[in-house]
Symmetry: C2
Subunit: 411 residues, 2 copies
C-alpha cells in the first residue's frame, strides 16, 4: 500500500533535519518511508491523508511494560506494595489462563493505538499469547521469556522456551526478542550469567528491573554479596546492551559509574514509581551523564494506563520540581526520550524512532486544534504538557493504518 | 428549564449518602437539584439525559487561577522564573488590552467547560472583562480586584474598584467576590490590614499567594520583620476565611501552626509548582492536620492548562512518591479536594460542591467507556488516574447545559 501524508507540520526527531518543519509531504511505500519533501506528486492509487495544520511525528515507544496487566488497573488504592502483591496480584496471576493473557494484552494494544504508542517492550509470562494478541492488532512488540530463579524455573528452561519462540516468530517483522531478567533480586548469579551469555551469542539486549525501591537494593546486595548493585552491572553487563527499568534508587556516585558504561539505557517509569511510593529517579543527572534515557509506563497495575503523553508530562515536570530548576528537561529532550531514545534502547534505531527516508513508517498524527492546546506558543512544550492520547488522530505502524480519525482500523 | 438525568452512576460527594450509587435519577428544576431518587417520573417537558453506564458527579472546582493567562501557555520552556517574567510575561502584560483579557478569558472558560470544571477562583487585573467573558460562557466565577502595593496602587484604590464591581454584578448569581491580596511579599502591612478589614466587613474571604518559593519566604520575612510567614497569618488572618494558594515552602512546624487556625484553606497547584521549580507542597501533612485542601491549576503560563483531572492525578501521585508511601492520599480524598473542599474554600459549600437536594446543579457526566479506563476495578481511582478532561461528556452549571456530548452549547 502507498500512503501519502500531505501538508504535515513535521517533528521528525531526525537530528539531520530542522526540529520543526511546516507543510511537508511524506510518502510511504509498503512499510518504508520513501520520500520526505514538499509537494510530492504520487501515483493515483496512493491513500492520501490530509495533515494540514496537524503534527506528524514518530510513533511513541514504550520501553517498559507488562501488557496483560490491564486487568489489574486500579487495584492498589489504599494498599502498601507487599499487601497489594499478596492480596491482589499474585492470587489472580496464579489463575490467569492463556485466554485471559490474550484478552488483557489485546485491550492494552488498543490503548496503545488510541494513545499513539507504536512500539512496546514487554515482560510477563505466557509470552506466546501476548505475541498472538499483538500480532492481531498490528503493534510492534519486543518481548522475552522472563527469568526468575526458583525451584520450577531456571535459565536453562527459559532459554529453551525463548529459542522456540524466536524460531516460531522469526519471520514476523513486528516481533523482536530480548533476554528478560526479572531482576537481580529474583535471580541467582549462575542463571544471570547464562542469560547474558545467551544474549551475547544472539546479539540481543538484556531487559531487567533495576533498583526500583530500597528493599530491592538491599536484596541485591545480599544476593550478590556486593556493596552496590552497580558492581553487578560493571561485572557482567559491560559487553551487551541493557535496558534497566526504573533505576530509582541510585546515588550520585552510582549514577556516575553507570554513565561510564556506554551500553546502558534507563527506562524511566515516573508514574509507576510515584504510585508505588518508590520515589523519583534522577533523570536530569542521567541526561547530564549522557545515559540514554527512554520512557516506560510499567504495567497498568502500578502505571494506571499506557498513555505515553502522561509519562512525558510527568517526566518533564518531576525533574524541574525535585531539583527546583525550571530549566531541567526542556520539552524537546523529553520528546527524544519517548521516540528516538526508546528506539536506541531497543536496538531498533536503524528502523524506527524518527521519520527519515528508508526508515520504517511508524507514525502518528496529532490534532492540536483543541482548547487546551491553543494558542501554540511552543509546539514541543504543547505536546509534552497539553497533548493527551486523545489528541492522536491517526496511528500508523509498519506502514499500516491502525487508527484513522480515532477510528480503530484493526479487523 | 427542567432536566432529568436518568440511570446515573452517582458519585455525589454528599457525605450523608453512599460514596457510589448505581442507577439513580436526578431531577433539576431551574438551577436547583430537586430530587435524587431511583425511577423519577417527570413532567413531559423535561429535558432527558440518559446517563446509563456513565458517572455523574459534581462539577470540579478550581480554587486558583489567572484566567487571561491562556495566551501565555507554553512560553516558559528553557527559562528560569525571573528571566521568564522579565522577558516574556511582564512586557506582554503591559500591552494587554481589555479585548485581549476578554478573549483570553473566553478561551479559558471553554477549556473549563470541555474539561468538566464548573467553578473557578480567579486573580488577575481588568477584572471587569474577565467577568464579562465568564458571564458570556456561563461558568461560575469567584474573582477580585487584586492588591499589589506600589506607587500607583493601594488598598484604597483597589477597594473602591472592588466595591464598584460588587455593586455592578450584585444580581449575577454566577459571580461572587473575595478580597484578593497578591501576596505578602508584594504588599505592605497597612494595605494588607485594610484589605482584611474590608473582607471582614463584607463577610468575604481573602485569596492570596503564599510561600510559593524560597525567595518569597525571604521577602515576607524582611517585609514584615518576622521569623516565619506564619506569624503574619497568625497575627492578621485569624478571624476571616482565607485561601492560601501554593503553600509549598512550609516546615512541619509551620504546618502544625497553620493547622491550629481553623479558617485556612490551601489551594494546591502541583503542576505549576513543579514547572516553576518550586517543589512539592506537603499535602499529606496538611490532610493529617485537618487543613482544608482544595486544588488549583494556576494560570496556563505555569500550569499549562486548566484540566483539573491532571491536577487530581498529580496530587494523588506526588505525595505517594515524595513520602514513599503508596497509602498516601487515596483517590476519594483527592476527589473531595476537587469538589466539596473547593466549595468550602470559596465559602460556597452551602450551594455547590456536592450533588444534594436543594443545592445548585453544577454537574458533570463522565464517559468511562474508553480503553484507558477499562476494566473499572475502582471507580474513584479510575477517575483520578485515568479520566481526562476529554472523558467529560456533559457539563451543567447553574442548571444550564453548557456542553452536551462534548458539543459546546454556549451561543
Amino acid at each position: 500500500m502507498t500512503i501519502l501524508i500531505k501538508n504535515a507540520n513535521l517533528i521528525s526527531m531526525d537530528s539531520s533535519r530542522e526540529k520543526y518543519e511546516e507543510n511537508i509531504d511524506i510518502l510511504i511505500n509498503d512499510n518504508i518511508i520513501e520520500k520526505i519533501e514538499k509537494n510530492i506528486i504520487s501515483a493515483n492509487d496512493a491513500k492520501i491523508i490530509d495533515a494540514t495544520g496537524k503534527i506528524v511525528m514518530p510513533g511513541l515507544i514504550n520501553t517498559h511494560s507488562h501488557l496483560p496487566m490491564s486487568i489489574f488497573r486500579e487495584t492498589i488504592d489504599g494498599f502498601g506494595l507487599q499487601e497489594w502483591l499478596k492480596e491482589k496480584i499474585w492470587p489472580i496471576e496464579d489463575k490467569l489462563t492463556s485466554e485471559d493473557i490474550y484478552d488483557a494484552t489485546y485491550l492494552s494494544c488498543m490503548e496503545m493505538i488510541k494513545t499513539g504508542c507504536t512500539t512496546i517492550n514487554d515482560m510477563y509470562f505466557m509470552t506466546d499469547y501476548i505475541i498472538k494478541a499483538a500480532l492481531k492488532t498490528g503493534i510492534r512488540l519486543q518481548t522475552t521469556k522472563t527469568l526468575m530463579s526458583s525451584s520450577s524455573d531456571s535459565a536453562k528452561i527459559r532459554l529453551e522456551e525463548l529459542e522456540k519462540l524466536m524460531d516460531t516468530y522469526k519471520n514476523e517483522e513486528l516481533i523482536s526478542f530480548n533476554a528478560g531478567i526479572h531482576g537481580l533480586y529474583t535471580t541467582n548469579e549462575e542463571d544471570t550469567k547464562e542469560f547474558i551469555e545467551f544474549a551475547k551469542k544472539n546479539n540481543m539486549l538484556v531487559h531487567m528491573h533495576f533498583c526500583e525501591n530500597s528493599q530491592e537494593v538491599q536484596d541485591i546486595r545480599r544476593n550478590y554479596n556486593v556493596d552496590s548493585p552497580i558492581e553487578v552491572i560493571e561485572k557482567y553487563f559491560t559487553k551487551i546492551p541493557v535496558i534497566l527499568a526504573h533505576s530509582v534508587k541510585l546515588t550520585d556516585e552510582e549514577l556516575e559509574r553507570l554513565s561510564r558504561l556506554k551500553n546502558v539505557s534507563v527506562s524511566h517509569c515516573p508514574i509507576s514509581n510515584l504510585k508505588l511510593g518508590c520515589g523519583v529517579a534522577k533523570i536530569q543527572k542521567m541526561v547530564d551523564g549522557k545515559i540514554n534515557v527512554s520512557l516506560g509506563t510499567d504495567g497498568q497495575g502500578s502505571g494506571s494506563n499506557l498513555d505515553m503523553f502522561e509519562t512525558m508530562k510527568f517526566t518533564a515536570l518531576l525533574q524541574k520540581g525535585i531539583n527546583e530548576n525550571p530549566k531541567n528537561l526542556p520539552a524537546f529532550e523529553v520528546l527524544k526520550m519517548a521516540t528516538i531514545n526508546g528506539a536506541k534502547a531497543l536496538g531498533l534505531d536503524e528502523k524506527i524512532g524518527s521519520i527519515k527516508e528508508k526508515k520504517i513508517a511508524d507514525i502518528i498524527i496529532i490534532n492540536t486544534n483543541t482548547e487546551v492546546m491553543q494558542p501554540v506558543n511552543d509546539i514541543f512544550s504543547d505536546i509534552v504538557y497539553n497533548a493527551k492520547g486523545t489528541n492522536v488522530e491517526t496511528t500508523i505502524v509498519n506502514g499500516k493504518i491502525l487508527m484513522e480519525n480515532r477510528k480503530i482500523e484493526v479487523e
